[in-house]
């Protein structure tokens, strides 16, 4: 399978004051291929979020290289990073982070439009996603009118509406009960496989491991490959 996302000796250090810095990622090297669904596990402070942020072009690594579709990401160019996030990456955040002043449909549409999806195609995708996410009746509702599970499903739809080749999810089930959590996770995995996208899910919930085909364990800023 062709590699979509490659990390080559990626390091990240944060300044801890008085001129000192603390490295939280110690030379991460991983390759993620098309259709791979990866669960990223690890205790708090192990560097999961930092790695996810670098993979999502939100955080600049101190050193090392990130390649997306065999192209080295230029972290010095804001335009390049924005373009990558706009067209290639879909995010699902722990707290959904829906835009509260837009309806469910508008939350999806605004991301689709920004990614350059044609209006007719966008309308088709939104309808299909709302159906898939069982949110048809909530299309015109605002996030404040939805349950936590519904909100997270909308966030899922928003991450998928522009058919990204990389989907990054940070604790997408943390605020959900087990049933809703598994629904959201399964939807993510199924859709990622349909799209042939790379899916990286950060979670603490080890019960979800069997659903993924690759497990990465983070410890003290290093990735340890494990299988299940």
């Amino acid at each position: 399978m062709p590699a979509i996302l490659e990390c080559d000796d990626v390091r990240k250090a944060y300044s801890s004051g008085e001129g000192r810095s603390e490295e939280v990622l110690h030379g991460i090297t991983i390759t993620l291929s098309r259709g791979e669904c990866v669960i990223l596990l690890g205790p708090s402070g192990s560097g999961k979020t930092s790695l996810l942020s670098i993979l999502g072009c939100l955080l600049t690594p101190t050193s090392g290289e990130l390649r997306i579709d065999n192209e080295v990401v230029d972290f010095s160019s804001t335009t390049t990073l924005t373009e990558r996030r706009r067209s290639t990456i879909g995010f699902v955040f722990q707290h959904a982070h829906l835009l509260p002043f837009l309806t469910v449909e508008e939350n999806l549409a605004t991301v689709g439009r920004n990614a350059g999806v044609a209006p007719a195609e966008l309308a088709r995708r939104i309808t299909a996603l709302l159906e898939l996410l069982r949110l048809e009746s909530a299309a015109m509702k605002f996030p404040s009118q939805l349950s936590g599970g519904q909100r997270q499903r909308v966030a899922l739809g928003r991450a998928l509406v522009h058919d990204p080749s990389i989907i990054l999810a940070d604790e997408p089930t943390a605020s959900l009960d087990w049933e809703n959590g598994t629904i959201v996770t399964d939807m993510l995995i199924n859709r990622a496989r349909e799209l042939g996208a790379v899916l990286v899910v950060v979670t603490h919930d080890t019960r979800l491991i069997p659903r993924f085909n690759r497990v990465l364990q983070m410890e003290g800023g290093n990735v340890i490959e494990s299988s299940h």
Partner: protein
């Protein structure tokens, strides 16, 4: 319009309307501030129009007057001979005498009112240009005057033909004109030059206040003005435009009235800036997590700045629209009052531009906040 800006416009408007109460309160605040500014400038324009109205409507091209007469209302006597001299200047088509003097009007109830007595000749230059009742020609009759309908109550006038007193002389109302306000609170009373001199004991028969002249068609006014000035000593010759500017400058600048009004107008714009700035910043601050989300989802910082820009323009435009409505209503209501609110297309356009500029200025703080948003906060 590029897609990014269309998206910014959509998001900006929806963010603004997220809390309709705050949006409408801001629009009302900006609207009132804009109204305050336009009303102040409206007063200024109205006052300038008021204190130059008789000059502008005179139909004359040139005014001959005593040296350094500060305004129409404060002209002093010049020899009537100047009128004939002016008429003899090459390029002059006609001349007319004008009298202007302060006098005392005695009402029927005995109360005395200061008035500005204007004497005009057969062409009625510097006289009323709109009559409400009676006739302007009536001033050719002895002891007959024309007054403006705005001041009937002030002068204690009930009807045409009623008689009053001016320093022992009878004054009968021969006509009522309209649209001639006074800036000095002393109403204008019109009569013939000869009658005015009879009313004003300080003038001799061979004295007038102004000699006004019309130039022959095609002859440059400036050329005639220069010829006239060379030919006559101890008088000043001004074009109608120059005399208007001098009168307006006197009342607006030398008395300090204009400066006060202009300062208040700028205060209005400053208030609008503060209101817009504070509200916009409050809205931006409330939505900082949403800006971070938008950045993380691939919206550019330019799009985010456009959102702030759109919001400031929308607030400014809505405020200006409301302010214009208020000003229009106030101007309409002031038409028949001694204190008119007026404007000119140029003044209004400048105020609108100024208000938009202040709205944009108000967005600077918000733009700065948006510029500092870190998208990584979405993971916290």
């Amino acid at each position: 319009m590029p897609q990014a800006f269309r998206e910014a416009a959509f998001l900006g408007k929806r963010m603004l309307l997220d809390k309709p109460g705050r949006f409408f309160a801001t629009v009302i605040g900006v609207g009132i501030a804009f109204f305050l500014a336009t009303a102040q400038f409206g007063l200024l324009v109205g006052w300038i129009n008021t204190n130059t109205a008789l000059i502008r409507h005179s139909g004359a091209d040139l005014w001959v007057m005593a040296v350094q007469a500060p305004a129409f209302d404060y002209g002093t006597a010049i020899p009537r001979q100047r009128l004939y001299q002016a008429r003899s200047i090459e390029g002059v088509e006609w001349t007319q005498p004008v009298f202007m003097g302060w006098n005392i009007w005695q009402r029927g109830d005995g109360r005395r009112v200061n008035i500005e007595l204007v004497g005009v000749d057969r062409m009625y230059a510097a006289g009323p240009w709109m009559m409400s009742s009676g006739s302007l020609e009536s001033i050719r009759r002895p002891n007959t005057v024309v007054v403006d309908q705005l001041y009937l109550k002030t002068l204690g006038i009930g009807r045409l033909g009623e008689s009053f007193e001016m320093i022992g002389e009878r004054a009968t109302i021969g006509g009522i004109c309209r649209g001639i306000r006074t800036f000095t609170a002393s109403p204008f009373v019109f009569t013939s030059v000869e009658q005015a001199i009879r009313y004003d004991k300080r003038y001799r028969d061979d004295e007038i206040t102004y000699a006004v002249a019309g130039c022959q068609p095609g002859v440059p006014v400036g050329v005639v003005q220069a010829r006239m000035q060379r030919a006559m000593a101890n008088v000043e010759v001004l074009t109608t435009q120059q005399f208007c500017v001098r009168s307006a400058k006197y009342w607006m600048l030398e008395t300090g009235v204009g400066i006060t009004v202009v300062i208040t107008a700028f205060l209005g714009l400053a208030v609008a800036t503060v209101i817009t700035s504070q509200t916009l910043f409050a809205i931006t601050h409330d939505h900082l997590p949403n800006y971070a989300t938008l950045l993380a989802l691939g919206f550019s910082r330019n799009t985010l700045l456009s959102i702030v820009l759109v919001q400031s323009v929308v607030l400014g435009a809505c405020g200006i629209a409301l302010g214009t409505l208020l000003f229009g209503s106030a101007a309409w209501a002031s038409v028949r009052t001694p204190i008119p609110l007026e404007t000119t297309p140029l003044v209004f356009a400048l105020l609108v531009i100024g208000s938009f500029a202040t709205s944009l200025l108000a967005s600077l703080m918000s733009a700065r906040a948006v510029f500092r948003v870190d998208p990584i906060t979405v993971f916290r």
